[in-house]
Point group: D2
Chain length 371, copies 4
């Protein structure tokens, strides 16, 4: 589905010109193509001092749970790992036995983009994709899927976990009310609720509420929270709001090869990311740039935006010729086949913590100049 | 089996004194408690420039295979991951189906210290531990285990993989001749050969031969090569000498959550580690310090060394009172119960790329001063 | 989804009356509620003589492959097991690695009704359900799903297996031409083709072609063939047309606990089932009774049949009051919620090798008499 | 390890002679080579009447739990399956998560003879084999293994299950006192206790105590109880004494393909096997024949019996020439290489519920007549 460059260039940015002006970003493939945020790199360097106990017994990791508990206004357990796919997989193992079912949106990363990682981590739990229009699950379809599984009784997979992506894969954000409706349904059916928060910061910046309101107060039991797309080198975490879900998590992390011996270097990234609300600052910047891009695209006569731009992903349907023009101009972004019946090509632009207005304007200008 | 500090100290090194003299290392728990080597941290910082395609399509990763192929004098495939447990697990999936058997030394990390990771990665392959005196498998016992499985025919696990640890878990190193005997037996039985090279550099420094001689020329099909214990932040790799073993490896890496989105930051570490033979330089330093410690311990009237010190791990049997004295003096190291019939406590000291002669001498002096 | 009786009655048939007349079947829940066919029970009894080597080394099993090869006009391998869920799961392990994807119809038994067995047997392969109107997969949707996975390249699940149910879960039967189109697509994409033949005999009876034409000549690589629903006590089998798929199958069977020590008693059932075309005779009888029922229902003014009745399952949409009336009259059958927008209740009646015209007529009469 | 006949004979019994005398059994390979007990075959035939709800909702299965509860003087849950390997694997899933460890005797069937089934059923739990002299685990070695795992803390597999084989794989039987010591250790460490009772009846016949005394009163939490080796066609069961262990067991059974649609035919076998203490009668007969054989072998000047014959398996070390002589005389039995340092060949003879004194005497006579 994704198309990537065939030959790996040393850098995807345009070369500096003679006048020393700022580089212009042309790579909108994802929010993980950019560099590490200076504050976070500095924290890695600062942590590189003396010896430290391995495997998470270090002082940085020791500070992590207090810090995250403060941010989320709750006594949480925090498990840092290097990738979002691992965080999702590990979180799901806390909610479902191998003979359980995970209910998720049809567009979800866990169902579509993780090469079977949830099946792997959970030792074969069953993923039940639920269709939706724009990445946000509908209450009635969730309700029906639960009912179908329950009617099968003790000979069908136990409905165990509901997984919601916030922000969603189509760049939309659940409202708190939508979350509460869905999580209530899940809890009433004896299921636990996972939130895939690879872009949780972006969703939070959109909602403008507290981290607690957007998670455990809305019925989320366990959260995969991602920092990598928001300026970290490699830092994601599983956060449990129900601490019984934390039992044996470290064994599962070790068993999956996700326990770093020098774990201080993940924990230090996360501490820096949370320091002075850097994470929210980064999210807001990315969201604003996405908004700028969306508004610009809406002004283009040939562009259609199929979804609201609520986080840092902009989806647009463009005539194929325009898409090729942008590519010819050096722009990098994701292409997808448009849905049946739609003319044109569906493309995705992702903005990042370090995207600048000039980057967006240059992109819009490039688009406008294609004949 | 391992005992670790209860409260995580900020640093395990002694404080600087007023005279500005060098810190003295007191932490000999493992070679992963130390900091990142300056050259490697510099490489991470240098890689933090501009955008780069995600998921290994970056320029650093693109250089990696050519570089490692050069080092190993063979066309290899290289798959960088963050931990040794992941590298081992992923390598084993290339050799065994879920219904196969992995033959390994009873002392091996994959059998004893990985919390079931090989069973997890291989979806339940059977580990068959083979007893040995000192971490190096005996040809006759390997031969017998293979024969037993083969006699069970199509109703017992297929003997699929032989896994050898080089250096071994008891700090010993297989000779090339020993390797060849074992790998020949395995190949004759239709098995593939994995080498757990978490401390391969140290073994190589001991052997004094080429990387090629110590691996594929000696019958190794796939290698887990570790840089983390030798100065990296988090960098290990799976190297396939038989490239058919590389098929679908990237899918298994993604599925296990071990594909970094910003992979340039692992690859850059490895490139720096191989640059100017830094890896061998680091290994030699650690080995020399282990040798210095071993010689010192042998001079102590109450110490016994149960194994040859061939890499960077020193095992000693000490009277319990001496062990407690060292701990009281602030030293950190691994304790194990001595084997039945042996008086005293079995302890392990691990030296590192940045261990200095003064560290060793201080340790020996501390030991000598215990009454 | 299924509703079953709460208290287990000793028998679901009506009691004999004094006049010695035939029992009338009232249980149409499935074709597995009936007794074992006399010929098959006789074969079990006949096999109970003297000692026989265990685990499939017996004389009955030895005859099995020759017999099935004859029936399918090909050199096949045959692996008898006790349940269809096991046969499906084991067959799929021959086509997909744990990191592969299995493409199947959304209605398929492997996706909906096996409690995650395919995920279990394949160690977590990804099931990709493809929507269809009536249980028969559409070529264009298969084609699109394959393209999506291939576009994701080496970071998405490898499309490995196509699984087709013949007869389908909605009682329809693929034509040979439809099969060939689908299996060609799959083979062109490097996938293998599995057929879930729990009711293959019924499909064959409908098609009126040879077993070879309906399987390997139409591109099927591996078949789960079920006898239990067609008169056996517990006898299903995996049949490989591509014998390379048979490698290590016995290890997988043993490892899943599906290797009977007294295997002669499965093999003897299958031999009897194939003897004198008993299997086809039984299938024809069941199909004819389903046809009789379908024709009867079509004559009822309030009944609608959403699918063609091509095998031995009849689906009907009935007013809820009629459904309750049938239940009150002692009839047992499956109920499902009707699709959105449809008035009434969707019910399923399954006929069996021993269903008689009088059973059907009594059912229709009972329906007609409900006011 | 096992050697079996190359060509499958129709029957392993000697032909009747002209005088109509009884057949003499020559197959001592295992207690699963014999036919089904007449009472059990009659029960299967009797169950073949009318329709019955599928998947265990039948009247036979409904009676099973009450019957077994009576036999074991406890409220148990009973789950019938077709093979002992499945019963063991399913029972273990109730005790260990995938990241747990199963401690078992090195000689145990689950470790040596099941092709990785415990790893498969438990999704990769770690098997920790503990050496013993004669199939009965030693308390001190169990204690040490538990301590080792616990010392590794949250980064090593959780010690979850203790599995004991009763009778053991070397034909010995744990005393009640031995069981209590081992199960107490396990419970104190937070582990659950599984008993592999493939030959539990034989052990019980040896102990002469009640089923309750030999299981839950001695600390067993879950039992695999086998009937197949004792006269059934294919009938084993998982019995939970702690009913919380039964949760979701049916889902695991279905998911493993072990839920028979016509389950009445397993349940009926078990009911017949328990009727009138048939199971104990069969076990006693087999044990007595083993004792008769053991006593006879002890009288032979060249035979040594390495283990006490306490159940229905006789192990003997015989000169290789005698072993070949017996084989030449048509006898079938298991051969193993004798342990290092022992002259001769280790052979195993298994007696069965239908072995007769004349069979034993003929075997001893055949042995005596070899020159």
């Amino acid at each position: 589905m994704e198309q990537t460059a065939q030959t790996p260039p040393l850098s995807d940015t345009l070369p500096d010109d003679d006048t020393g002006s700022q580089r212009i970003r042309t790579n909108f493939m994802s929010d993980n193509v950019g560099p590490v945020c200076p504050e976070i790199l500095a924290a890695i360097t600062a942590a590189n001092t003396g010896d430290a106990p391995a495997h998470g017994d270090d002082a940085w990791t020791a500070r992590l749970e207090a810090r995250v508990s403060e941010v989320f206004e709750a006594e949480v357990r925090v498990f840092p790992v290097a990738t979002g796919t691992a965080a999702n997989g590990l979180a799901l193992t806390a909610l479902t036995p191998p003979w359980g079912a995970i209910l998720c949106d049809e567009s979800s990363h866990i169902f579509r983009r993780e090469c079977g990682a949830p099946e792997f981590f959970t030792s074969g739990a069953k993923l039940c994709p639920i269709p939706s229009a724009e990445g946000r699950m509908h209450t009635d379809l969730l309700s029906r899927t639960i009912a179908d599984l329950q009617a099968g009784g003790r000979r069908l997979s136990r409905p165990s976990a509901l997984s919601l992506s916030q922000a969603s894969e189509w760049g939309t954000v659940y409202t708190i009310e939508q979350l509460v409706e869905l999580t209530t349904l899940a809890h009433d059916a004896g299921m636990g609720v996972h939130m895939d928060g690879a872009r949780f910061g972006n969703a939070l910046a959109h909602l403008g509420c507290s981290p607690a309101d957007a998670t455990w107060r809305a019925g989320v039991d366990i959260l995969s929270l991602g920092a990598t797309k928001s300026g970290a080198l490699a830092a994601e975490m599983v956060i449990t709001f129900d601490t019984t879900l934390a039992e044996d998590m470290e064994r599962r992390i070790k068993r999956a090869g996700h326990l770093w011996s020098k774990q201080r270097f993940i924990s230090a990234q996360i501490l820096a990311w949370l320091e002075n609300d850097l994470w929210l600052h980064n999210a807001r910047q990315a969201n604003e740039m996405a908004g700028r891009l969306a508004r610009g695209l809406l002004r283009h006569p040939a562009a259609t935006l199929p979804f609201d731009t609520q986080a840092n992903e902009v989806f647009a349907i463009l005539p194929e010729l325009l898409v090729q023009g942008l590519e010819a101009a050096g722009y990098v972004f994701l292409r997808r086949t448009a849905p049946p019946g739609v003319e044109g090509t569906l493309v995705r632009f992702v903005t990042s913590y370090d995207t600048q207005p000039a980057d967006i304007d240059a992109l819009l200008e490039a688009l406008a100049s294609i004949e």
